[in-house]
Symmetry: none
Subunit: 237 residues, 2 copies
DNA sequence: ACTCCCTTGATATCGGTGTTACGTCAGCGA
DNA sequence: TCGCTGACGTAACACCGATATCAAGGGAGT
């Protein structure tokens, strides 16, 4: 007889689903044991019997959201192409996109501070570690494997948090790629070609003196600023 | 008569000191209004009269810790050496060191997630912005100023969080420098793009590279050229 | 000097949170 | 059928942030 186990799992997944829905719709602050219990149609102590702790619940939610996300992604996007660098890039994009898609969950996981990281976090780190290992095995790394891992992880986490901290409409959509390129350039043995430094450098310098340019109207200066930013944000490759 | 103002400030700084001590010694979870009030020897409502909110208290604590930290640092370490790159590096080191020295405070500030950032955070961002602007004005940046700012900030934040998340005895002490180098090599021009950083000199140099700017229409380029010429012909000085 | 008003101090309280103790009751093996 | 073990449900505990209320007191203005 497995019905007791089945119902137990059903109740468990129901609670996780309720917590996930609450997290998505009402934010991290709304994920309270009582609210979750009420939405899931169970009593509050049931959560503690099944998850032991509120952190346990959050861990289960994180794992659930993450698995449904990776299973929801089209498999082609994240398939191993054979090129370790390409795989790392696609994994990076998936990670950043996941962070931006689930801001509340990210905040919730980051909120526990320096305590033991969630299983979902260590799972993600393990995936990254395997990808870095492939890089190392292919002889593409010019730094320590651990160093490469930490650098990519730091850059990814920092990028996601920076993007989440600013309003959605003024986020730099190319920041993720720029950060990854920066880290890869310092990490990979094969130096990727850095395109055309002088033109953009001159443009950036010019942008700083633009407000002091005489003989122009404010509207003209504003237009030039806007065009400069657009050109500098333009993907060169 | 200023005694009322003085006592008010005394009580205020006493509360901040109590909260800071509590934060250092017992962690972020121990910073509760009641505990702070008891340690400071005041009543709980006093905190709300002086700080309005618990976030206000935390902001005050962050500001206090930060100012005492920067005032405690030997002034020589963080002095402006004249070289914008060196200044940025020393500022980076100071920031990372501050994060590693005050893990609870950092966790507390990061814990509010996507809400309005603390005044201390925006103050730090402003300092960074000024340093990046000096880089741009010196013709050393080859990416957008905003992009450079976001990249440095993301790398710093991510590095600190990564280091804080692992036990102190297995931290990579060179991770910070490696991350900064990675970002800098992606951001800095190898040589100053415009040796002469006066407004007109930069404008002249920019006019020569304007035809190579990507992401602009021919009409926009033509307009910018025309405006540039008009500005350069403008009699100002 | 006196009144008036605003600030302070203190108590009690509200609504809410994570968590747990304990009685009860159903379902199972014997 | 009878115990017994486990889950369920109620209630409660110990906190938390935040406020209402009210007496006491001191400064400002007349």
């Amino acid at each position: 007889m497995v019905t007791t186990q089945d119902t137990r799992d059903d109740v468990r997944s129901g609670i996780v689903a309720a917590a996930t829905q609450l997290l998505r719709e009402k934010g991290a602050n709304a994920v309270t044991t009582r609210a979750v219990a009420q939405v899931a149609g169970v009593q509050a102590p049931t959560i503690y019997r099944l998850f032991g702790d509120k952190d346990g619940l959050i861990d289960a939610v994180a794992e659930h959201v993450m698995t449904t996300y990776v299973s929801g992604k089209s498999a082609a996007t994240d398939r191993a192409t054979g090129d370790p660098v390409d795989d790392l890039r696609s994994g990076w994009r998936t990670h950043v996109e996941f962070g931006l898609t689930n801001p509340e969950l990210y905040a919730l996981l980051a909120a526990r501070g320096s305590r033991a990281p969630s299983p979902a976090t260590v799972a993600g780190l393990d995936v990254l570690r395997r990808r870095v290992r492939r890089l190392a095995a292919a002889g593409l790394l010019r730094v320590d494997e651990q160093r490469a891992l930490l650098m990519i992880h730091s850059a990814g986490n920092g990028t996601i948090l920076t993007l989440l901290a600013m309003p959605e409409d003024q986020r730099d959509p190319a920041l993720g790629e720029a950060m990854l390129d920066a880290v890869l350039t310092s990490i990979l043995a094969t130096a990727p070609a850095t395109p055309d430094t002088t033109t953009s450098a001159v443009a950036v310098t010019f942008a700083t003196v633009l407000p002091d340019l005489p003989g122009l109207t404010d509207a003209e200066r504003a237009l030039m600023t806007e065009w400069l930013h657009r050109s500098l944000a333009h993907p060169t490759r």
